[in-house]
Every structure is written in C-alpha cells, then in structure tokens.
Subunit: 325 residues, 2 copies
C-alpha cells in the first residue's frame, strides 16, 4: 500500500477552490469517489466544482450529490487545483482533458495498473481495489469527519469496483475501509440493492438475448457473449444496461477468460475482458487492441471496427492466453 | 454484539475430546464454521470428531477438511463436550439429535433469530451475520493461531451467509473479521469463485428459458418466474441448478415481491418467495400454503398440485400483499 504523498495533502489543505473530475462513461467508482471527495472538501470550507462530461445514467443516479455535477467546464484558471479521480490516462478525462491539464496544480488519484501518468502530483496505487478506498485514506490525514453521504458514495464506489468484494483486487485494506464506512451508518444491503437490484424488464429481456449469444471455446476455458445494436433496439435498452453482463460468461466454472463484445452503435465496438486467477493476463490482450486495465479485468474500444473481425482476432489472442503451457 | 460467555471458553480449554456438529442439509456457514472450529481445536492439541449426517454435496466439497467428516455417531459419553454450530433448534441436528443431547456438556453457538435454546451453554447472537464470524471471535480469546485452512472455511462461511456482504445482516464486525481472515492469506476471489462461479453451460441455458417465463403484475410490484419439467429435460439440468434464480425477478427495481414457481417433477411444486423492505411479509403468504420462512424469504411445497392453479392462487394472495394501503 502506497501512502498518500504529503504534497497532495498540503496542496489540498491550502486550496480554496477545487475542481473534481473523473473519467468519461463514469462507473460507480469514478462517480462515488468524485462525489465523496468533493463533499469532504466542502466540509473543510472549500469551494468545489463537480465536473462530469455527461449526465449520470439511471444506474448511478441514486448516489447522493449527483445533482451537483456540472457538464461544462468553467474557467480552469480560477481553481487552485484540479483532482482527477480514477483516470488511468489524461484522455479518459474526455473532451475537457486539454483544458484540465492547464490547471495550476493537477492531482491524479487512481488505482489502475499500466498507468500513463499525467498532472503535477500523482498518487497511483494499483494494489488498491478502488479509487474510493484511496479517497477514504486521503480523508483521514486531512482530518475530515466524513459525512454520511460521502461515506455512502465511497462504499458504493468500493462495492462497485470489487463486484461486492468478489474480485481479486479485494484486500484486507478494502475490508478495513468498508468496516469504517459501515460504522458511519452506511447499510451494505441498501447500497447493494441500489447497485445490483436495478433491472428493468427491458434489461432482463436484453440479458436473455445476450445469453443466447454465448459461445465457448478451448474446452470451455474461453466464454464470449455479444450484444448488437439490433438487440438494443429490439429491447429498448442502451449500452449502460449491459453493466455487469460480463459476469455471466465469467460465472462458467470452466471459464479461465471471459469476453463481452459490445457493438453499441454501428461499428463502434467496446470489449470487456475478465480472467480468473494469476495465469491469464487480459490487460496484455487489451493492450494489443490499444486498451488497458488490470490482469483480471481489462477492456478496449474500437471506433469504426467490424464486429466479426474483432471477435475473430480476439478469439485467436485469447486462445494463446489460455493455452496449456 | 454479545461476547462469548466465559464458561464456553473454560469448557473448551479444559476439554480433551470434542465432537463438532452442525445442521442437516448443511450450507456454507454450517460446514465452514464446523470445519474451522474443529481444525482450530486440533491445533490446541484436542482430539476432534467431525460429525455430519450426510455427505457434503458438490457445492461445498471444495472446503478444506471436508474429508474429515464422519456420517455416523460414535459413543457420545466418550467426549468432554459437543459443540453445535449454526443450529436454531435441536431438531436441526438431525437423526443424531437425541443422542447428542446426552453429551456431558453441549455448547451451542448460533446466529439465527427466533431460537429454541437447547444444550448446557449457549452463545446465540442474532446480530451476527454468520456463525463463522462468531467462531473467529471465539478463537481469539482461546489463543489459537488460526491455520490457513480454518481461515478459508470461516471466510467461506461468512461470504456464503451474507451473499458476499450484500445481505442486511452484514455489519462492521463482519468486515472486521473478513479483514483479519484475508490477513491470514485467504484470497476473496478464490472463495467467491468457488461459491458463485459454478455455472455449467446447461445451467446458463436453463436460466435463459426461465427468464423467458418472467411475468410482472401490479405495475411491476410483483415479479414471477417459472421452471417446468420440460425446461429441465431440454437443458439436461436438475432442481439444484435453479439455486439463486429467484434473485432475477427480485432484481427488478420495481419489484416488491418476487416468486419462483418450480415444478421439479410432474405435479411437485416448490415455490420460493422474496420481498424487499419491511412492508411485504412473504412468510405469511407461504404459511397460507402450508410453508414458512422469514419476512423477506420464505417458501412452500405442494405434492400433487396443478402448476397453473398454484400460480393463480399465489398471484391473488401476492396482489393483496403489495396492494397500496
């Protein structure tokens, strides 16, 4: 565990106006850690601007404080510092990246591996399970009495990025922080219910179609599912509705690697990859397609691709990854 | 949190021969806490007899130490004490209950509510999320250096009985103990993988068919799914493969109650009921059909029933339960 650098603490202590940002297509960890950090800084009397390129989708709009998010950038020169949360590279900040990089002080806090460092001050620890977990450990030395809403957001961030403590990234630090957040009044079943019991009927119909696409290869060691633009239009769903679907191919007892190939719009293809154990590094596979991530959870995106071709090339690479030594 | 009674500690300290038992149809918490307690007592130099009426099924046979379980009772008079784990009443000890009750000292350790106390020494705490969590807190004052296998079993017990920390029973104590067990080398993803990533392709095919049966009523407040003997034969699956399927209708954001109607063999109908929050008591609904359970999780079984008729009658009763006041 890498402790928070002192210069980040002193910069945040001194700052009066702070802008907090996270990555595009924000997930629970991005939004939860952003909202929590912002609210905690507000309790210290700082003025906080919450920036997010897009509106929050229905999966995460239960997070308290969502309504504070603004979708266009103010004049960056007016802020003492900008904090980038959960972004493995500057590009992930979206359209505003270039402008955000002009900040007086740009602090990046993140837990992804294979990082492209940016900004002035970095706290990057790939051994942490979520950025939310790190934000908790940032608040303690700043002397923040974490308010309930912020604790709720941090807990949601942690649960979201560990699949409720099931992913290999989960450590004793994860549980230590979870215990502290529950001590602040967070109810685990409430957060889990909001994060996981959020299906619409259309989303269940989409799941059914996606399960139909299941393919297994290499004696069941590779499992793939696919979603197409036709499935979205047939069920009246959107890309965000596929959240966590990659867990279905992953749940096959025989699967060593799982892939979810998403053609969200015609020829726009996102792929989520998962693996189990230490043998299969899906971050390396994602990197071959220009993506990134962790050993057990990675992804890539291709604009103007051909789904059949991407599937074929991906399968070839995965077959090498799961090949017996 | 109720601390472990001193008399239980002194009885275990003094005992040379101990028999550990848990309930019939044992789940992860029963087996995990039993195997862990037994192994820990062995490290203190005690002779331990592991009793379980039945053989362990394929869902839990990954638990280290399973092979130590014996399926017939020895002469109880030869033991200094018997420890009953995770049993809410003596009957749950199964066929051996009467004999086990003749032990010199019978210790019961359990976390269920609505308890029928039995035995000589009781440690019952319905505020604890699992018996495994309690066994950990029993080992600390006994000075046991918990071995890896026992830590693994305790962690599995906890994950199993909290749905990976998602049920409302999860507390900060649950997370405190989980952190300690991970510090002893347990890998959360390994245990979760064994407990939850146990799908076969046929089971995923069955899930797809069952999702096809989804019906919603009362503006989405009631969600029902059904499995038929035809679906089992079409996919080559058995009743045990439907484990946790009731979570799908439950996962609809609009659902207040969920039901899973299982015709496992022709005219043999089992129904699982779930509800959310405090408003809908499904135990009362189950009772009308001769079943039982808790407010949020209950069920009933009808031998020689007509599925369409059971579904119709059930729906009528559920409509009353979710009716706005």
């Amino acid at each position: 565990m890498i402790p928070v650098p002192n210069e980040i603490l002193s910069t945040l202590r001194a700052a009066k106006r702070v802008l907090v940002a996270s990555h595009i297509y924000p997930d629970g960890d991005a939004l939860g850690s952003q909202l929590a950090l912002g609210e905690c800084l507000e309790t210290l009397g700082k003025e906080v601007f919450f920036y997010s390129e897009e509106k929050v989708g229905h999966l995460y709009d239960f997070l308290p404080g969502c309504e504070k998010l603004r979708h266009s950038l103010p004049d960056i020169s007016g802020f003492d510092c900008v904090v980038s949360l959960d972004c493995a590279e500057a590009q992930r900040l979206g359209k505003g990246a270039e402008q955000l990089l002009t900040a007086k002080r740009l602090i990046m806090i993140d837990h992804h591996a294979g990082h492209k460092l940016f900004g002035d001050l970095q706290w990057v620890d790939p051994d942490r399970a979520s950025t939310g977990e790190m934000v908790y450990d940032l608040m303690v030395p700043l002397g923040v009495e974490i308010p309930y809403d912020a604790a709720y957001c941090l807990y949601a961030a942690m649960v979201s990025d560990t699949g409720s403590f099931m992913y290999s990234s989960t450590t004793s630090d994860t549980f230590r922080v979870a215990a502290e957040l529950v001590n602040r009044g967070v109810k685990p079943s409430d957060v889990a219910g909001r994060l996981f019991d959020n299906f619409t009927i259309n989303r269940l119909r989409l799941l059914k179609l996606v399960l139909d696409s299941l393919e297994v290869h290499a004696d069941g060691r590779i499992a793939l599912i696919t979603v197409t633009p036709e499935m979205f239009s047939e069920t009246g769903t959107v890309a965000a509705d596929t959240e966590s679907f990659v867990n279905y191919p992953r749940s096959l007892a025989s699967a060593r690697v799982a892939a979810f190939i998403k053609e969200t719009r015609n020829n726009v293809i996102s792929v989520s990859l998962r693996s189990k154990g230490d043998d299969c590094d899906v971050a390396a596979v994602a990197a071959e397609f220009g993506g990134g991530g962790h050993r057990n959870a990675a992804g890539f995106k291709i604009i103007d691709g051909d789904r059949a071709k991407v599937s074929r090339e991906l399968l070839q690479k995965l077959q090498k990854v799961v090949a017996p030594l």
